[in-house]
């Protein structure tokens, strides 16, 4: 392994929307930032979403500009496909050991022409598309990926060499080795994001078994204008669904699953998806089985009421069990709470599980911060300084500290930038604070300055 | 919906829209896929108070058959600009009359950033005016100099 060493003001781990925002705020302030992402593109989960509640902006359209500004910022260095092995305090700073994984493509030479992709004969399931649709072994992660650089999935590669021949810049390099890098960072932001709770968490829902029981994240891809099929089809047979069910809290608010907390976003994304579905499948019946609809953010309740008035069927109910029929349809045993717990059998041809949010990584693998019992980064001052961690100089933001939506992630990411900037102290050549020349401060009043109390103008300086 | 396009669409509508209020409101209309006829052309402006009377006349001369001024109304971010704008409209009307142009072809409206329905209504009203009066070219009296 080759060794590199660099010095940096802030190391941001994770380049989802939270990591991007922290990096941008710090860089705008004049600090040097290294933004590290384990995947081959920055953007996190948000870049894979269809549209975002409640504005219904296309997710790609509002994420790509952020990705692009971070990637092009003078003060930000972005490393994708990079693992963090350890971050240890080292005097007033931190020593971070990182591994830049082998892409088998020289990033400096690759121009993103995709000729390797077109040449590669191997088809593999496309993770970005929720494994619906296919990609090649040599591929660019997805259309709006940043950087637009190819990589080779060496586990799927059959070493035919076609990509190597096709590449106009000789960027393909099967001999590439992982590079280990030591970074001296004066501070750290943990923005390692979330994973969804497993589709098969509740065995009785047949997630991962029945083909037409899908995760809401897959539905995001189906609803994306650039999704795997370009429209909403059900996976088992490509039929256009006409009776879709959403099962809320599928993996959250359940002590037995180790996820007793509410995941905060699944009510809202379900409402959003039902609205998008009723646009693309105007004839379909759409039912949401829920316990409580938690539309608590700015403009969210109004969004929920709009969905209701559009004819989306919201039913307060517990779904006990889902069974798959031979034709791929699904039978739901539902305890309808509004009707005194009557148990009904409901037929649907596609079921979306509103999966919850759990930590995207275990930060303890590489850094000694305190976590809460669910594995989210814990703040020692949760009410006044939610983005602090147990280690001085280390802040955390976004879903790494608990489930939350995009706007709350962005807010925290900026807050985390403030914490780090405070810790670092002003960058060199920062201007001096201005004095306001006012002297009736409460501290002087408390000190008994009678003039200050009376507020006569003599006390005013200047 | 304000209406699907009519078969006879030889007319054009201009909408001058304020950047802060109306333009996002019109965007929101499209974003919600609320349809309106495609013979509408929206051009942004910080504030329509900037247009002199002659600008409107120029538009009619070039074959714009109806103009909606989509302002912020009294929510204008600029002090007193709505009053100034409203005071100019009668002057534009006077010049339009002098040229034989029906003053119904110009309307001052206020469209906010969430006013999608109001926008559709204004468009369909102006479409109706244009359909009734026909192209402006048939109406205008020539002027010399």
């Amino acid at each position: 392994m080759i060794e590199q060493r660099i010095d940096i003001d802030a190391l941001v781990v994770g380049a989802g929307i939270a990591g991007l925002q922290s990096a941008l705020d710090l860089a705008d302030r004049g600090y040097s930032v290294l933004l590290v992402e384990r995947e081959a593109s920055i953007g996190g989960k948000m870049i894979a979403l269809s549209k975002v509640f409640p504005t219904m902006d296309c997710a790609s359209c509002i994420t790509t500009p952020r990705m692009s500004s971070a990637a092009h910022h003078d003060n930000i260095t972005t490393w994708t496909y990079t693992d963090v092995d350890s971050i240890t305090p080292d005097g007033a700073a931190f020593t971070a050991k990182l591994t830049r994984k082998a892409r088998y493509v020289d990033e400096d030479l690759c121009i993103g022409c995709r000729l390797c992709e077109y040449a590669c004969p191997v088809e593999l399931p496309h993770e970005f598309e929720g494994n619906m649709g296919a990609r090649r072994a040599a591929y660019i992660p997805f259309g709006t990926a940043i950087p637009q650089k190819a990589l080779i999935d060496i586990d799927g590669c059959v070493y035919c060499g076609k990509c190597e021949k096709a590449c106009p810049t000789d960027a393909i390099d099967f001999g590439q080795k992982p590079v280990s890098v030591t970074v001296h960072a004066r501070s750290v932001v943990i923005a390692t994001g979330f994973e969804t709770t497993p589709l098969d968490a509740k065995k009785e829902y047949q997630g991962g078994v029945a083909a037409n029981v899908i995760s809401a994240l897959d539905m995001e891809r189906l609803l994306s204008p650039n999704g795997p099929y370009g429209r909403v089809l059900r996976p088992s047979d490509g039929k256009i669904p006409d009776n879709v069910a959403y099962v809320q809290c599928a993996g959250s608010r359940d002590e037995t699953l180790g996820v007793p907390y509410c995941s905060r976003v699944c009510c809202m994304y379900a409402i959003k998806q039902t609205m998008l579905l009723s646009g693309s499948l105007p004839l379909a019946d759409i039912t949401v089985y829920y316990m409580d609809i938690r539309a608590f953010g700015k403009g969210y309740e109004q969004f929920y009421q709009t969905a209701r008035s559009m004819g989306i069927n919201f039913v307060k109910a517990k779904v006990a069990r889902i069974e798959e029929e031979p034709n791929g349809d699904l039978k739901l045993r539902v305890e309808i709470i509004e009707e005194d717990g009557r148990v009904s059998e409901m037929a649907h041809d596609l079921v979306v599980l509103s999966v919850g949010l759990k930590p995207g990584d275990d930060p303890r693998r590489f850094i000694g911060v305190d976590l809460d019992q669910y594995g989210f980064v814990a703040s020692p001052e949760p009410k006044l300084d939610a983005t602090l961690t147990s280690m001085p100089g280390v802040a955390a933001a976004g879903t790494a500290i608990g489930p939350k939506d995009i706007v709350d992630s962005i807010m925290e990411a900026s807050a985390a930038a403030t914490k780090v900037a405070t810790y670092l102290g002003p960058p060199p050549n920062s201007p001096q604070p201005a004095d306001d020349g006012v002297q009736i401060d409460i501290r002087e009043i408390e000190a008994g300055d009678a003039l200050a109390v009376a507020g006569h103008s003599e006390v005013l300086r200047g | 919906m304000a209406g699907t396009p009519t078969e006879t669409q030889a007319t054009r509508m201009l909408v001058v829209a304020t950047l802060l209020c109306s333009y996002p409101g019109i965007d929101a209309t499209g974003q919600a896929h609320m349809e309106y006829p495609p013979n509408t052309y929206v051009i942004p402006t910080p504030d329509p108070v900037m247009f002199p009377e002659s600008f409107y006349l120029h538009c009619f001369e070039k074959g714009i058959d109806g103009i909606l001024i989509a302002s912020c109304g009294t929510d204008s971010p600029y002090e007193g600009s709505y009053e100034q704008l409203a005071a100019r409209i009668p002057k534009v009307y006077a010049q339009m009359k002098a040229r034989g142009i029906s003053i119904r072809r110009l309307k001052l409206t206020a469209i906010c950033s969430v006013c999608t329905k109001a926008f559709l209504k204004e468009v369909s009203d102006m479409e109706a005016v244009m359909a009734e009066l026909g192209p402006v070219s048939g109406e205008m009296t020539a002027v010399t100099a």
Partner: protein, 702 residues
């Protein structure tokens, strides 16, 4: 108007010599190498608009050097195409026909910069929101419209001139308005990062609404201790001035350099006051105590709670009669009844608005409110449950613990047209107040714990204990025997006084949890979980022109991406002034606002968009009519310029920092010497000419 005789900053104004003969009409020199890019938006545009046709037509226009259509213009690939063309073809203007400029104008400006061009030589054409999405069923007409919009953009682009940002020397201080948790948090973060900070609080005490709570959910930290910890840190900052009883009364200027006039009312009391108890006891006045949400009384000289910040009583001048009894009781020391406010003026680079929220005050009769002392609001009950509160923590009505209590959620929140009547402010409060569910259950659990014999009925629509540690309140309440009843989206419980009956109140609810049964609940006390309301900050809104949302809260630039910035540059939002939030969320928002302020004021200058008025000195004849049209002090003035060797004449001069770019001056000029840079009348005319250049063909639906 006083005229300054300083040298105008406007270069053009000083260098242009007036021509001896009237100027000939000079046709603008048009750019000749426009690059045009049409975006598919992954089908969002190209499914309706024939992008190939639009590109082909654009390629045929005069002055267009290249026209392409690309899958995602905003992607790296799209951006790179522009940069490559700038470098390879020497483009002099760029037009991108894609989504609304609100999304990507800034993105593409930066692309031009990367390519080595002036960023203001970019022009967008909106063919998504205003073509493909608005006319999905008329592809032919939408394509024609898109072409016309591209023609118009090219025509204007050809006339664009390079612009430079207006730069203002930045004052390295921030003003924070509001001394609640959000304001305190913002002030502390800013001061610690090396800015000067002025924190102003309208009331005589710091800490805001949080100090009215006993503990905060979900940590159950003692609320006042929590806030006092924050205040102690704030007070330890050397560059931070804290002014209580202070309001902003005037505001001028712009980001980087606002001038703010503050009005401070004297406290009336200072540290020399030896026996505050005696002074307070001597006061003959009794008024409703706002700190206890009206359930107790206080004097005109008062302190909300012992150890308040600052730990000194204050005089409420509105109710004080200047009788002097307190002064006598204090032995003449430590109290001064002179209440004349003083005004001070400060300069500040940015302003953080953290003015907080009000509790929704129900209409008289709304769920029986104000018709019985047994119908209280949740904040009032929180005060009663506070061991340091007016009742010492006892929840008693007429000296008796209520045997049964009904708590009603969503009062003044989630209101629906035709189901709810508007609030006393005449508005329908459609939003969810976010904090009341957890706060209600927190109180319900406390009541069940303290008074196990008291039955608690919780009437709700949805329980929104959304935070990670909030769900336990719901679980605990169920375990503690709180009886939940749920009313439907479009039905509301009623509260009636049942005089003479065993229980003085009767609550009727159609409970959807039990088959829609109508249930009558006899109770001793009804608690209304009132929502969070935007506080009335009309004065501030008028001074700053900050936009307000339909819900009455101050509006952010973008609800997803830019939640703490207002549309007014340099004006940031922190906490519940923007939307309902809990303490954690408010302090995070405040820290986020601090990040934006420090980035704005990071350098010696703040940069602003260059879209301001400009004078063509060769046309201006100094008539001065534009001065009357402009409403902004100092934006446009007359200055003497040397138009010829030794000949001084008056010419209009625009101060680019004070000018707002509204264009009100433009039509006032009889010789058309004025324009707003980037929005020139001739450019508009060229757009109209381009739109009308081709006859319409797509009359029929296609």
């Amino acid at each position: 108007m006083a005229e300054r005789r300083s040298k105008p900053k406007n270069q053009a104004a000083t260098t242009a010599a007036a021509p001896a003969t009237p100027p000939e009409v000079v046709l603008p020199v048009l750019a000749e190498k426009v690059g045009v890019y049409i975006c598919h938006c992954g089908g969002n545009i190209s499914d309706v608009v024939d992008v190939d046709k639009v590109a082909t037509e654009a390629a045929g226009l005069d002055g267009v050097a290249v026209a392409r259509h690309i899958m995602f213009m905003c992607s790296d690939e799209g951006q790179k195409a522009i940069v490559d063309d700038i470098q390879a073809l020497g483009l002099d203007r760029v037009v991108v026909a894609a989504c609304t400029p609100k999304l990507h104008e800034a993105t593409f400006r930066r692309v031009l910069q990367r390519g080595g061009m002036n960023p203001y030589l970019f022009l967008p054409a909106n063919i998504r929101e205003q073509a493909s999405w608005a006319h999905p069923h008329s592809p032919k007409a939408a394509t024609e419209k898109a072409s016309a919009l591209v023609r118009a953009a090219v025509a204007k682009a050809q006339m664009l001139e390079p612009l430079e940002k207006v730069r203002v020397a930045a004052v390295h201080r921030a003003l924070v308005i509001g001394g609640g948790v959000a304001g305190l948090r913002a002030a502390l973060d800013l001061a610690r990062q090396g800015l000067g900070v002025t924190l102003v609080e309208k009331s005589p005490f710091l800490g805001g609404r949080t100090t009215q709570l006993h503990t905060v959910f979900p940590t159950e930290d003692p609320a006042r201790l929590l806030v006092h910890r924050l205040i102690a840190e704030v007070k330890a900052q050397p560059n931070l001035t804290i002014l209580t009883e202070t309001e902003v009364v005037a505001l001028t200027g712009y980001v980087g350099d606002f001038t703010v006039t503050l009005k401070t009312t004297p406290r009336g009391v200072n540290a020399e006051l030896a026996d505050r108890q005696a002074a307070i006891a001597a006061c003959p006045i009794s008024v409703a105590n706002e700190f206890d949400d009206g359930i107790s009384k206080r004097r005109a000289i008062y302190q909300p709670y012992p150890g308040s910040e600052p730990d000194l009583p204050a005089i409420d001048w509105a109710s004080c009669t200047r009788c002097g009894d307190c002064v006598t009781a204090a032995g003449g020391r430590g109290i001064d009844l002179k209440s004349d406010p003083i005004e001070t003026t400060i300069e500040t680079g940015a302003i953080v608005v953290a003015t907080g929220f009000d509790h929704y005050e129900p209409r008289v009769g709304e769920y029986g409110y104000a018709t019985s002392p047994r119908i209280l609001t949740l904040p009032q009950v929180h005060r009663m449950l506070d061991p340091e509160g007016p009742t010492g923590g006892r929840l008693e009505i007429d000296g008796r613990v209520p045997r049964s209590i009904a708590m009603i959620h969503c009062v003044g929140s989630r209101q629906i047209e035709d189901v709810d009547e508007p609030g006393p402010d005449g508005k329908l409060h459609e939003y969810c107040s976010r904090v009341c569910c957890t706060a209600t259950l927190q109180a319900a659990n406390q009541i069940r714990q303290k008074y196990p014999k008291t039955a608690v009925y919780d009437l709700y629509r949805d329980i929104r204990t959304y935070g990670r540690d909030q769900e336990p309140y719901y679980v605990d309440a169920s375990k503690a025997g709180v009886v939940f009843m749920r009313f439907a989206n479009d039905a509301r419980p009623t509260v009636e006084l049942s005089d003479g009956a065993d229980f003085p109140l009767k609550v009727t609810v159609t409970d959807t949890l039990t088959f829609g049964t109508e249930i009558e609940v006899p109770v001793d006390l009804v608690i209304l979980s009132v929502g969070v309301m935007p506080r009335d900050v009309t004065g501030l809104i008028e001074m700053t022109h900050a936009p307000v949302g339909a819900d009455g809260f101050l509006l952010e630039v973008h609800p997803k991406l830019r939640p703490v910035e207002s549309a007014i540059p340099g004006l940031l939002l922190a906490g519940t002034v923007q939307a309902p939030m809990d303490v954690t969320e408010s302090t995070s928002a405040a820290s986020a606002a601090a990040a934006k302020v420090t980035a704005l004021l990071a350098g010696d200058h703040v940069e602003m968009e260059p879209f301001v008025a400009k004078v063509d000195p060769s046309l201006c004849d100094g008539c001065g009519l534009c001065l009357d049209a402009c409403r902004y002090a100092g934006a446009i003035a007359m200055q003497e310029v040397e138009i010829e060797e030794g000949v001084l004449e008056k010419r209009a001069y625009v101060n680019p920092v004070a000018c707002k770019g509204c264009g009100a001056c433009v039509p006032s000029c009889p010789v058309s010497a004025l324009d707003v840079a980037g929005w020139e009348i001739d450019q508009y005319k060229a757009m109209i000419d381009a739109i009308t250049a081709e006859p319409l063909t797509a009359g029929a639906r296609s």
